[in-house]
């Protein structure tokens, strides 16, 4: 089962296409990270999911319901925190929580108290006098206290210091459940959720580059380094699945995106019969950067042709 699905989703602002033909599925029970550089279309996608924007074409389904028909019942099961959340700044923390509580029958007062303590939030202080980190924690608390089945976080970490980021993740895990508890999180910097997420999607210029389980992605990507005994140019050109292929003197480096021990070894031996080949595993962040670089190289080459 998928808790979020989009089918050929398009969203335009005037003539600009922010999201292009997006088909993506977020499996129930996953912690799914949607990555992409600024302006990739992540926030637009999330706003469509939350019915804050209507699709130009295609559709989005959340908890099995068309996003344009999301009702109170669904909203009570969704927690949503965004980077640019509008909060009633004239209220104090306590007033704000008093205001939110009645909307959610499942609101857990004990959990609210626990999170207030953990986040060290001053209940009497007005929201306009809180730091950015504290405001984000208030927003998160008000979305966690009713133990949502689906948590949607739009760039939750931008502008937060490492300590607050840590508290934020701890808070999220406080309401975690085994089974059908799902988190959909967008970020331009994967670092903070690298361990937390088990699914990843990469969006660039409104287009989905990939969406798959993290373990599968990590298994197929390697940073390959070849040290030639003599600095000669290999006669055969690199296959398509070797990204960002570069040579400097007797060293060749590239990213293999279809790695398997046997296959990669044979391909290397064919091209560099007597060379030392090493394959390094890559972090999600390195994979993300490699893909963005490969895309840029491709675009430049396309432009020249």
């Amino acid at each position: 089962m998928n808790v979020i699905e989009t089918h050929n989703l398009v969203r335009k602002y005037g003539k600009t296409e922010a999201v292009h033909d997006l088909t993506i599925s977020v499996p129930t029970g996953s912690v799914f990270a949607l990555l992409g550089p600024n302006g990739a279309g992540k926030t637009t996608t999330i706003k469509v999911l939350m019915n804050l924007l209507t699709p130009t074409a295609g559709e989005a389904r959340v908890l099995g319901v068309d996003s344009q028909k999301l009702g109170v019942n669904e909203r009570r099961q969704i927690g949503y925190v965004s980077e640019n959340q509008q909060l009633p700044l004239w209220m104090s923390v306590r007033q704000f929580l008093d205001y939110c509580r009645p909307w959610y029958p499942a609101w857990d007062r004990d959990l609210e108290k626990k999170l207030l303590g953990r986040f060290e939030l001053p209940e009497e202080r007005k929201l306009k006098h809180l730091s950015r980190g504290m405001l984000m924690k208030v927003a998160l608390l008000s979305s966690l206290a009713y133990r949502p089945k689906l948590l949607i976080l739009d760039e939750p970490f931008s502008g937060l210091d490492p300590f607050v980021r840590d508290e934020f993740v701890q808070g999220v895990l406080e309401v975690s459940e085994i089974g059908d508890w799902t988190v959909f999180i967008s970020s331009h910097d994967i670092h903070e959720v690298e361990m937390l997420c088990d699914w990843v999607g990469i969006l660039n210029a409104g287009r989905l580059q990939l969406a798959e389980p993290v373990e599968k992605l990590q298994a197929r990507f390697r940073h390959i380094e070849v040290v030639l005994h003599e600095p000669i140019m290999p006669a055969v050109s690199p296959p398509e699945h070797w990204l960002c292929y570069e040579q400097a003197g007797s060293v060749i480096r590239f990213f293999e995106k279809d790695y398997s021990t046997g296959k990669t070894e044979v391909l290397c031996r064919e091209r560099f019969p007597s060379a030392a080949v090493t394959a390094h595993p890559m972090s999600l962040r390195e994979i993300f950067v490699a893909l963005m670089r490969a895309q840029r190289v491709q675009n430049t080459e396309g432009a020249i042709k």
């Binding site: 993740v169 895990l173 975690s176 937390l196 373990e215 990590q218 390094h280 999600l284």
Partner: protein, 126 residues
Amino acid sequence: MLPFTIELKLGLPVTEQVVFATKKAVVTGQLKVGSMFPSVRVLSQELKINPNTAHKIVATLVTEGVLVTTPGVGSVVAEPLAGDKRERAELLGADLERLVVEAKKLGLSLEDVQSGLNKHWRKLGG
């Protein structure tokens, strides 16, 4: 706090890393036979990983006989595998082959490998 040493490295499957760290902790005596293993929730919160991943880790450790689970109580570190010594040695077969392949690729001799093995064996208190 977790009762065994683990430092997650980026780029490697989390499940594999935690399973390996647990086995190592059992071998070195950091985790004693019969002692409690952290719950899925604690594992998830301490390592900041998806609870479903933590669940998978515990399930893997149970399947491999490192832990035994008692419903309502939790998981404890199991007695070492009983059975034929030859059977147990066979479990290592694939890992040994991989080690030999890597060593040959690096141009090491059998002695190099043996002295390396000895060093690690002693480090874990053998």
